[in-house]
Amino acid sequence: MKLSTYNFLTSMAIKGVKVGFPLKLTISKKELVETEFNPTFVERLLPKLDWSAVYGAAQVAELAEDIPAVQPESIADNEQLLQKLHHLLFEIDVLEGQLECPETGRIFPITDGIPNMLLNEDEV
């Protein structure tokens, strides 16, 4: 699972959960996958992302010093930051780990790079 995907995931489908976001991420095994950097792509993607989850992922991935806690006003000219965001969002591949619902503590395991968000019938 790339951390860009993580940015969209929520546990709100669980009965009684209001927001379910951001999920608490734990990485037990990850891999670095080099991918082509396209600054325009990252810049245009940013408005669609939730910054708190971007920053949260950076902390878990031990890249917190690369990413500011608060989203900068303008980022278009900051190619260095765009590069770092690209690395965080597209080059770190979580192979094993888990996602935890912030409200209920329900664990969603990440196995072989795929988060299993499937809920049981009685949870929804």
Binding site: M1, K2, S4, T5, F8, L9, T10, S11, M12, A13, G20, F21, V33, T40, F41, V42, E43, R44, L45, K48, D50, D112, G113, I114, P115, N116, M117, L118, L119, E121, V124
Partner: protein, 613 residues
């Protein structure tokens, strides 16, 4: 010159020997009959048989010329060889030397090759002709005299119309009502100017003995078929809802052999010239019938063997009575009325069992067939790819039910994320480096209003209730940002548009080449599936590459491994406008476009900017 002639003889003998060995190999593999190096009373005629036009008479005539006495002839249907049994070994040797490489009984005067064999094939004598006729099938020979035959032919020719319809393999003409071949039905509101000719009236008192049990006493529809040698009619059952029981067919001008079939059971029936065929009850409703397009028929001889008969021009008069309503026969397999009925209880039961039905007949099946399924899903459908191409750089696109993720790489300028329930299919996509997570389409674990585009291709037809299908659309609507667009494809019940078959139907090669029909395939499928236990409500098993008979069906998937296991996937195939009606139930979205694409109903909808309060 002398040397050349000798060489020629040697070459001929070599050629004959080569041919002999090849034919013997065929016979050995066909019917497990081995050659004998020493003379026996069994002789195989290696290269001439019923399939290349040999008649029993012609064979016996040639054998008689050798002076040898024959006790039995075994002509095998569809084979280019046959067998003789001689009275004694001496007779056998006489026939062998007198015919082998001598008797010109082959096609275009070709010479016959013979061999001694150890026995007759086990099949010989067990022909299609010894089987009982289908129940309800009656052939009345000499039903009309030659003079009456002439009168009838005149009366149908003399109405000022030529044969208006020329089908692929025959000419047709209709009286009373036109039989419409596209719908396999008649339009009862549009009678023809020409009723069934009154010249036919003398026929009905003659069938009086039988007609007391019929639905009708006088037909109101007549179809005249004119067959040239080599013409035929594909296997079919006369549409149940179109006509009452029985169907009558008068054969004029020449004999023909008609093939009847129910599942694996096949029966051949000779229809002599001037005979009346009555198809009633089971024969009318549960057997298909056809005339194979060929020039020579194989027919039984009085001695119980088979021989060939060259066809000549034949005209058949098929008399029927319009039903003008639904059929409620007790033979549902081929009944169009009963097959298309969707009982209200069924959808209620389906809704009750939806979760476990989907679990067993969708999720578990996809996990088991994931790899094989994935191999068959590689080319993106063009109109889906086109939809994906329409998104700006860095748009976020979610594929709900992405399968092996074949659409995730379509547009390299977007962030494409896929989700599916099947772990097996997700694993395939993962190997290709795609962004994936596992979930159910009824609970998509994605932030609301966060996605620019959504696709769901061939997914929600696996949901077993209207409420759940709507629920899946509601989830897509929820994750879309205002102004975001979704494309949804579902399988259509109707696999034909503007008389054009969908790709799915077009791949039914046997039907397209008129080697068989959908009805026959359905019968076979039905028989195969009777063995399969079903845990849930009994759903009909669909026959692949044929038109859907019902909306809620189980579609077989046959694995490619040695076991050839058949898995059944549940599908709800959509009626026209059904998908649009679901979309209309969600006030937060607006239908932008709907279309039909290769057997699928498709919609594009948009999340409204200002949701209705």
């Amino acid at each position: 010159m002398h040397v050349e002639q000798q060489q020629q003889i040697v070459n001929n003998a070599k050629k004959a020997e080569k041919k002999r060995r090849r034919c013997l190999a065929i016979i050995k593999s066909d019917c497990d009959v081995s050659p004998s190096d020493t003379p026996t009373i069994y002789l195989a005629i290696l290269n001439v048989g019923l399939s290349n036009g040999l008649t029993e008479e012609r064979l016996l005539e040639a054998a008689a010329q050798t002076g040898g006495s024959i006790s039995e002839v075994a002509m095998l249907a569809g084979k280019s060889y046959c067998f003789l049994v001689c009275s004694t070994l001496e007779d056998s040797q006489l026939v062998f030397t007198g015919m082998h490489n001598v008797a010109t009984i082959g096609q275009l005067g070709a010479v016959a090759y013979l061999s001694y064999v150890q026995a007759l094939p086990a099949l010989a004598g067990k022909s299609e002709w010894n089987k009982p006729l289908p129940s309800g099938l009656i052939v009345l020979p000499d039903f009309v005299s030659e003079a009456e035959e002439e009168t009838l032919l005149k009366s149908i020719a003399d109405d000022g119309r030529s044969h208006e319809g020329t089908l692929k393999h025959r000419k047709v003409k209709h009286f009373g009502y036109e039989f419409l071949y596209g719908s396999n039905n008649v339009d009862p509101t549009r009678p023809l100017d020409q009723p069934v000719p009154s010249a036919c009236d003398f026929l009905w008192p003659r069938v009086g003995n039988f007609s007391s049990s019929w639905d009708w006493s006088k037909p109101d529809q007549l179809t005249v078929n004119e067959y040239e040698p080599g013409h035929g009619i594909p296997p079919h059952v006369d549409t149940h809802s179109a006509f009452f029981d029985p169907i009558l067919s008068l054969s004029l001008q020449s004999d023909v052999v008609m093939d009847f079939r129910r599942g694996e059971t096949q029966v051949q029936v000779k229809l002599p010239r001037r005979s009346l065929l009555i198809m009633s009850g089971e024969a009318r409703y549960d057997w298909t019938h056809c005339i194979k397009p060929k020039h020579i028929d194989v027919v039984p001889t009085p001695t119980g063997s088979l021989t060939t008969q060259v066809r000549s021009k034949r005209t058949s008069l098929t008399f029927r009575r319009l039903r003008r309503g639904c059929c409620n026969c007790s033979y549902p397999t081929l009944c169009d009325s009963q097959q298309s009925k969707v009982p209200q209880e069924l959808s209620t039961t389906l809704a009750d069992q939806a979760v476990s039905l989907e679990q067993q007949n969708v999720h578990e099946v996809y996990d088991k067939i994931a790899n094989h399924f994935s191999e068959t899903r590689h080319t993106p459908w063009p109109q889906v790819a086109q939809f994906l191409d329409g998104f700006d750089t860095a748009s976020v696109v979610l594929d709900v039910g992405c399968g092996n993720g074949k659409y995730l790489g379509c547009n390299a300028h977007v962030l494409a994320i896929g989700c599916d329930r099947s772990q097996g299919l997700l694993a395939v996509g993962r190997q290709r480096g795609q962004h994936l997570f596992r979930c159910d389409c009824l609970n998509v674990p994605v932030r609301s209003s966060s996605i620019d585009g959504c696709i769901s291709i061939a997914v929600i037809h696996h949901l077993a209730s209207a409420e759940r299908r709507l629920g899946a659309l509601r989830e897509m609507a929820r994750v879309l940002r205002p102004g975001g667009r979704a494309l949804v494809y579902v399988w259509a019940k109707e696999q034909r548009r503007n008389d054009k078959k969908s790709a799915y139907l077009r791949q039914n090669k046997a039907v397209n080449k008129e080697r068989t029909t959908e009805q026959v395939q359905r019968q076979k499928q039905q028989q195969q599936m009777e063995k399969q236990p079903q845990d849930h409500v009994a759903l009909p098993v669909h026959t692949n590459r044929t038109e859907f008979q019902q909306q809620d069906v189980l579609v077989p998937w046959k694995t490619k491994d040695e076991q050839r296991t058949t898995f059944l996937r549940y599908y709800h195939v959509f009626e026209e406008q059904e998908l649009e009606k679901l979309v209309a139930q969600l006030p937060e979205i607006e239908l932008k476009r709907s279309y039909y694409d290769q057997g699928n109903h498709c919609v594009i909808f948009e999340r409204k900017i200002q949701p209705r309060p």
